[in-house]
């Protein structure tokens, strides 16, 4: 019979505390002086984890109690099946600590990554729950223990908060105690070896919009920029935020199928080849002018699309191009995650911490859709991907409209396990996340919880003692629920083996934004070390910045052998810029207000 203590009681023959006060003649300091110690017992209740034989089910008999050894813990949590099998699939999650003994606790990869079940959710209060840290540790553990027969695995992490995930390749300070825990769990206490980072550019189009810009570290950061085609493909993300509109959808489809990247006749005598936002805007203006001229403002449809619909779509698209200027560029995609070439045990960090929420949704929707597409076709480069979404409550809130992103998260959580697309979500308040998104997570972790949160209906299954334990859980301890475990189990895990975001920005302060020409130089030099700064500066002096950006994007996209020559070619002869575009927009509000970053 294996059990886990769930509650403790003390009984004594003291009917009310008042009696001890009377016994001490009202003097509390004398209460301990009584010549006889009052009879008292401690009594614990335990929940049965497993019993042998399993059949027939028996009530628990009175018997002697022993502290569990490693082997007992493996038996009790039904870990023996995947720990000692011919093809073990055990992933260490932490140490079960009781009475001075520490036993490793393992999750089953078949139930964490798929295909039997999948996904993980972790919740708990800010700072004390160690949510981000726990996921970092677990990723390290997965990378070390992901069973060979299951193939290759990678992780895509969305950095949504300050410098949180910016230094996953840098070692953090670990105590000896933590090192010992790493050894016990057979997880190397090294930072991640293969880390790539993607960050959009700032509004200037040349400086990276991330906190990892220190000169020693910036080399692994790729700019993440998309063009019109990428945005239009995910235009639903932009629309569904406020309204679901079949007409707008139809018009977007029309743009996608008939207009983009084709030679297109606007019907008023103009021909367009729309490749950039600027091109698109020209088309829109032609349409509005055309309608005005030909019908004197009486006609309000163009090619069956109502002018109001056209205006709306135009607004949404130009809105995103202004609000997410460094992400969405006029110049088309210039760099992207390595779809099809994902590496085994690599972490791809997408830094959207400073991106407008709309842009975050866009990045998110596109990245996940791409992952899904490639995993379906089995050509991503790895067999399984863990997608880590911190602050899940922002992307899949329990209330509010059904956004595209929410639907997508729901879809992963319901179907991802067959594809190897696994969602690791973290949030402070589970009750604020869509029920089916958390409900589908086969593995649930809980750090220190808020008492008010524990009072919500989602936690009714927990005993009062468990709730109190959760509300007072020390840093570094987690409660784990996993399909093989019949009861929640508390484990201790070591600090993650990576540099904490906050320490990272202290040790590697972000570089100041470079002036435009220096930033261009830096980007080109990254691609070709032979380039000398003055060559570039001479080339771009007095050139329109948009042209320079466009040329830079083309270089990034093409990756030519002779970078400088190609750059010179795309930049073209020195021509005076024709219509200088005046796009003055209200700068977006910084979306994250309560963090200093």
């Amino acid at each position: 019979m294996y059990g886990v203590v769930t509650d403790g009681f003390a009984y004594s023959d003291l009917p009310t505390p008042l009696h001890d006060v009377v016994g001490a003649e009202g003097d509390p300091t004398r209460a301990a002086e009584a010549p006889t110690a009052r009879q008292e017992i401690r009594y614990w209740t335990a929940a049965v984890l497993r019993q042998t034989p399993e059949e027939p089910l028996q009530p628990v008999p009175i018997g002697q109690v022993f502290v569990a050894s490693d082997a007992d813990v493996a038996q009790a949590l039904r870990m023996d099946g995947y720990l000692y099998s011919a093809t073990p699939s055990a992933i260490p999650i932490g140490l079960y600590t009781a009475a001075g003994l520490e036993s490793p606790v393992y999750l089953d990869a078949d139930f964490l990554i798929g295909p039997e079940a999948a996904h993980l959710n972790i919740s708990g209060v800010s700072g004390l729950a160690t949510k981000t840290s726990a996921v970092e540790f677990l990723l390290a553990s997965i990378f070390e223990h992901f069973p060979a027969h299951k193939g290759k695995v990678a992780a895509v992490c969305f950095n949504v908060k300050g410098p949180d995930l910016c230094f996953l390749d840098q070692p953090g300070a670990l105590s000896d105690e933590d090192r010992r825990r790493y050894e016990r769990l057979a997880v190397p206490s090294r930072p991640f070896e293969r880390v790539r980072m993607y960050a959009p550019l700032k509004a200037d189009g040349v400086n990276l919009n991330t906190l990892r810009t220190h000169a020693d570290l910036v080399h692994i950061v790729e700019p993440l920029t998309w063009g019109l085609a990428e945005v239009v493909d995910y235009a639903e993300v932009l629309l569904n935020r406020d309204d679901i509109d079949a007409k707008a959808d139809a018009f977007i489809d029309f743009l996608r199928d008939r207009v983009l990247a084709r030679t297109f006749d606007d019907g008023f005598g103009g021909t367009h080849r729309v490749q950039t936002f600027a091109d698109l805007d020209r088309l829109f203006r032609a349409i509005f002018d055309g309608l005005e001229l030909t019908s004197g403002g009486r006609s309000d449809t163009w090619r069956t699309h109502h002018i109001a619909t056209i205006r709306k779509v135009r607004n949404r698209l130009s809105n995103i191009s202004t609000r997410c200027k460094g992400l969405v560029t006029d110049d088309g995609p210039s760099s992207d995650l390595p779809w099809g070439a994902f590496e085994d045990r690599a972490v791809y960090v997408v830094d959207v911490a400073n991106v407008d929420p709309l842009g975050q949704d866009l990045v998110f929707a596109r990245a996940v859709s791409k992952l899904r597409e490639h995993l379906e076709r089995r050509d991503l480069g790895v067999d399984a991907v863990v997608v880590f979404v911190d602050e899940l409550n922002k992307y899949a809130p329990g209330d509010g409209p059904d956004t595209y992103v929410k639907k997508m998260l729901l879809d992963i959580s319901e179907r991802g396990r067959y594809l190897g697309l696994v969602l690791f979500g973290a949030e402070q308040f589970r009750s604020q996340v869509h029920r089916r998104v958390v409900g589908n997570a086969a593995t649930q972790l809980f750090g220190r919880m808020d008492m008010d949160e524990l009072a919500t209906p989602g936690y009714q299954v927990l005993s009062p003692a468990t709730k109190i334990k959760l509300a007072t859980l020390p840093i570094g301890e987690l409660m784990v629920r996993h399909p093989h475990f019949t009861q929640p189990i508390f484990v201790r895990f070591p600090k993650p083996p990576v540099l904490r975001g906050r320490d990272g920005v202290e040790r590697f302060p972000p570089a100041a934004d470079l002036p435009f020409d220096d930033a261009v130089v830096r980007q080109l030099v990254r691609l070709d070390r032979r380039i000398r700064p003055n060559q570039v500066k001479d080339l771009i002096a007095e050139r329109d910045e948009d042209d320079v950006r466009r040329a830079l994007a083309a270089v990034r996209r093409t990756r030519p052998d002779d970078v400088l020559a190609y750059f010179r070619k795309v930049l073209g002869g020195r021509v005076s810029t024709d219509i200088p575009r005046e796009r003055t927009a209200v700068p977006p509000l910084n979306p994250i207000a309560d963090e200093p970053y």
Binding site: D13, L14, P15, H19, D20, V22, G23, A24, E25, R30, A31, E33, A34, P35, T36, A37, R38, Q39
Partner: protein
């Protein structure tokens, strides 16, 4: 099959009558007239107990008795009885541990009045049967029979207590005391031991009258009376005694918090009475809750009683309460 089941099978009528709670070992037991002779001073006086007190290493002794009528052969009751005694030693960790214990379970029946067949069943199935000899004219008056049975049970318990007490004395440490719940005078060895104390909390016998009686029964809290020589009945050994008040009785009743202490009849007892009384006052904590007699019950003595009750046969005394017909399973 238990012996009482066997009796029922042999034709006796099953019964379940537990007499009112046992009265304990009081100083009225043998009906002898008590007497007192003041030793410490000519008139009974009140003395404050020594404070702060020196708490002594000690063993505590108490006994219990439980009995009930389990069947009737005609009107002859057959009784099942259980007595037990334990001495528990309080260790340096302030927790009592059992030093010695003994128990006896037996049947009591007026054998001569029973049908031969039923009697044979009783005597063959129950290993320990005590006969209840009835006098000629009393016959089988139920009330008298029960009173006689009670004395048998009391006697059995006293024997056990005496035995355990005397065995305890033999293993008592050189500084250790033995506190007995009840009379010290029942045993010569107990009565003569320099570190044995009897603690009596039911005051059936009054040793004084007039002004001395008033002083004895109104002794204030934290005070003891003068030491006197207590003379008991036939079997009693001579001891010294005094009254001690643990808690203020005003607002309660005369006997509230009142103990009578027995100790060896020796001049040293007189000299030590105040110090011993101080010690016993210190034993008020922890309160002997939840017992209703907590005003006079010392916690370590209650502990012995609790211990014995916990080890008594479960089926002898059913939970107090209803005598309504039993229903269900």
């Amino acid at each position: 099959m238990t012996w009482w089941d066997a009796l029922a099978a042999a034709g006796a009528v099953p019964a379940a009558f537990a007499p009112p709670a046992s009265r304990g070992w009081t100083d009225l037991d043998d009906g002898a007239l008590p007497g007192a002779e003041l030793i410490e001073e000519p008139d009974l006086a009140a003395h404050p107990v020594t404070s702060p007190a020196l708490v002594r290493a000690a063993c505590f002794l108490d006994g219990i008795q439980q009995w009930k009528v389990v069947s009737y052969d005609g009107v002859a009751p057959v009784i099942r009885a259980y007595v037990a005694t334990a001495a528990r030693r309080r260790g340096p960790n302030r927790r009592p541990r059992t030093l010695l214990e003994s128990s006896r379970e037996f049947a009591i029946a007026p054998l001569a009045s029973m049908k031969p067949a039923v009697r044979r069943v009783l005597e063959t199935t129950c290993p320990d049967v005590v006969d209840l000899p009835l006098d000629r004219d009393g016959g089988l008056q139920p009330g008298k029979v029960l009173e006689l049975a009670r004395r048998v049970v009391d006697g059995a318990r006293q024997n056990l207590e005496r035995e355990i007490a005397e065995r305890s004395l033999a293993v008592l440490g050189p500084e250790e005391w033995l506190l007995v719940d009840g009379l010290l005078s029942v045993s010569g060895k107990l009565a003569a031991h320099p570190r044995a104390l009897g603690v009596i909390k039911s005051h059936g016998a009054q040793f004084f009258d007039g002004a001395n009686l008033e002083r004895a029964l109104t002794v204030p809290a934290g005070h003891r009376t003068s030491v006197f020589r207590a003379r008991g009945g036939h079997a009693r050994n001579e001891v010294y005694s005094w009254y001690l008040r643990l808690w203020p009785w005003e607002g309660q009743d005369l006997l509230y918090g009142l103990l009578r202490i027995e100790a060896r009849a020796d001049a040293a007892t007189v000299a030590a009475a105040s110090a011993i009384s101080g010690w016993l006052c210190a034993e008020r904590a922890p309160l002997a809750t939840p017992d209703a007699r907590w005003d006079r019950l010392l916690y370590p003595l209650q502990d012995v009683e609790t211990y014995l009750k916990a080890r008594a046969p479960r089926d002898l005394l059913s939970a107090p309460g209803s005598r309504l017909p039993r229903t269900g399973s």
